[in-house]
């Protein structure tokens, strides 16, 4: 077992060796521009891109021609939401989303508000799931798109996509889902769920960084978009720019691997994750799970450790890669808005740790991390004035504090 240990697979994943192998020929031998129609270098590259398109489409139940390549899920989110909003502006100017979306969606919505669109940010319950009735009620004759993520990157909670799709279908509204964290981890089928637009990213599923895709439904109904990137008209005019052939080949291979290994991997990760949770909960008291206990990504665990601040815990666990919802870990000194949206009180939000298990993590690593987490939480609680107060029966919440 090597150190440091990587338990932050929601942030990014290592490239699978099989993916790297698939990509290599396209750097120096088969290096053509996929848009070069006039010679074999171009044809070879184009063929590789088409093959990747098929594999990516297959993972989500979509035809290859409905796949548009981008630089990543952030770009896909921007293209989907802005693209649809601008194209269908005559039809309406109202967008519906929810409060725990990734910033790529939330900030895009904020930008559209600046441009005169109306946005409803649906609240979520204490597990992070939206209320379907609230969604129905939020829809107006001016609503043109609903954007709800498949699975949350911080707390792993999975949204009821099929039910959302049924509602949007019925009302003739376009449904976009940011599926970045869910694709390749749980089965996704755009036809069965009524999804019209779907964002995905290679580097979350053991592919390279810098490439992603947007699924754009081509029939029943055909969805149109205003492009963000103008230029040579690539990707049927939806996204100009020379294709990242090496990245796309890697992306395709990553999807192919997920397709064949997803079911087994899910079982294995769930077992490891549950063991991690159980191991910690057995040894440490006052630990709270953030997110839904069952409807969550198999590799995700997000825990709050009362009386212990997240960044200090990360520092204590410096040989283990994790992340935290604590304000101290963010550049803006704001605690996690996702935890806030699910009603986690601020004192507990600062104490949270996110574990993201992945393909290359082992049972041995899990046991090691359990032991280390116990060690550092104990040490930090010994140092914590809040733990003292709690043990002495003082109600920390009722105290008035002298602010620093």
């Amino acid at each position: 077992m090597k150190l440091p240990i990587y338990f932050d697979n929601h942030a990014t994943t290592p490239v699978d060796p099989r993916v790297l192998e698939a990509m290599l020929p396209y750097f120096m031998e088969k290096f053509g521009n996929a848009a070069s129609r006039s010679h074999s270098f171009g044809h070879v590259a184009e063929a590789a891109v088409d093959e990747a398109r098929e594999k990516i489409g297959a993972l989500i139940g979509a035809p290859s021609k409905a796949i548009v390549f981008t630089s990543g899920a952030t770009e896909s989110d921007n293209l989907a939401i802005k693209g649809v909003a601008e194209f269908y502006r005559e039809r309406g100017d109202h967008i519906i989303t929810q409060r725990t979306e990734h910033k790529a969606v939330l900030d895009t919505c904020k930008e559209l508000e600046r441009r005169g669109f109306q946005v409803t940010y649906l609240p979520v319950d204490r597990y992070g799931i939206i209320d379907l009735d609230a969604l129905r009620e939020a829809i107006t004759p001016r609503t043109i798109v609903v954007t709800i993520m498949l699975a949350n990157n911080e707390i792993g909670t999975i949204q009821p996509i099929a039910q959302i799709g049924a509602i949007t279908r019925e009302r003739g509204i376009i449904f976009h889902t940011d599926a970045t964290q869910g694709v390749g981890k749980l089965p996704v089928n755009v036809d069965e769920t009524g999804v019209d637009l779907l964002s995905m990213s290679a580097h979350k599923i053991y592919g390279p960084k810098g490439v992603g895709a947007l699924y754009v439904r081509n029939k029943n109904p055909r969805v149109r978009l205003s492009p963000e990137m103008h230029g040579g008209g690539h990707e049927r005019g939806m996204r100009s720019g020379t294709l990242n052939v090496t990245g796309i080949v890697g992306f395709g291979k990553a999807c192919e691997i997920c397709m064949s290994e997803m079911a087994e991997e899910e079982v294995r990760l769930r077992r490891l994750r549950d063991r991690l949770h159980q191991g910690i909960a057995e040894r440490v008291d006052e630990v709270y799970l953030n997110g839904h206990p069952e409807k969550r990504l198999a590799g995700n665990l997000n825990l709050s450790f009362a009386y212990v601040e997240g960044e200090s815990l990360l520092m204590g666990l410096s040989e283990i890669a994790l992340s935290s919802g604590s304000a101290c870990t963010s550049a803006t000194l704001e605690p996690s808005y996702v935890l806030k949206a699910i009603g986690v009180g601020e004192e507990l939000a600062h104490t949270s740790l996110r574990f993201g298990l992945g393909r290359f993590n082992t049972a041995e690593e899990v046991e090691y991390v359990i032991g280390r987490v116990e060690q550092e939480v104990r040490r930090l609680r010994e140092m914590s004035p809040l733990y003292d107060m709690a043990k002495a029966g003082v109600d920390v919440k009722s105290m008035t504090w002298a602010h620093g």
Binding site: Y307, V308, E309, G310, E311, S312, M315, G316, S318, S326, A327, C328, T329, A331, L333, P335, G345, E346, E347, H350, E382, M383, S384, P385, L386, Y387, D388, V396, W401, A402, H403, G404
Partner: protein, 145 residues
Amino acid sequence: MAYSEKVLDHYKNPRNVGSFAADEENVGTGLVGAPECGDVMKLQLKINDRGIIEDARFKTFGCGSAIASSSYATELVKGKTVDEAFALKNTKIVQDLALPPVKIHCSVLAEEAIKAAVRDWKRRKGLPDEPEAKAKTPAEKPVNA
């Protein structure tokens, strides 16, 4: 954000973690910050009859820099008079621990904790606050931050 060696050292080998017994006389306690902000520091000073700080203890809920700042504060105050301790500036902590700009507020909280502990001790002893008025200056940011 990589941690500075000094901050890591204070975390791995904290100085003076703990509390004085509740029945100890001669102890001033400062409790500052707020759990909602993710920062709470408790600093205790054991002060002799000549107003010299003989010993100090701290407990902190906060990030690595907050822990290091309060740990370092307990080292800084030992042997000083209460007025000297009261005059300690956060900038000294920032410089000596090489805190990045985003963590300066941790050192400010440590400075506040020292002041709060001194005030608490003076209150218990029935001493006037007057020398504080001379020492009071706003917390500064170091020039080269």
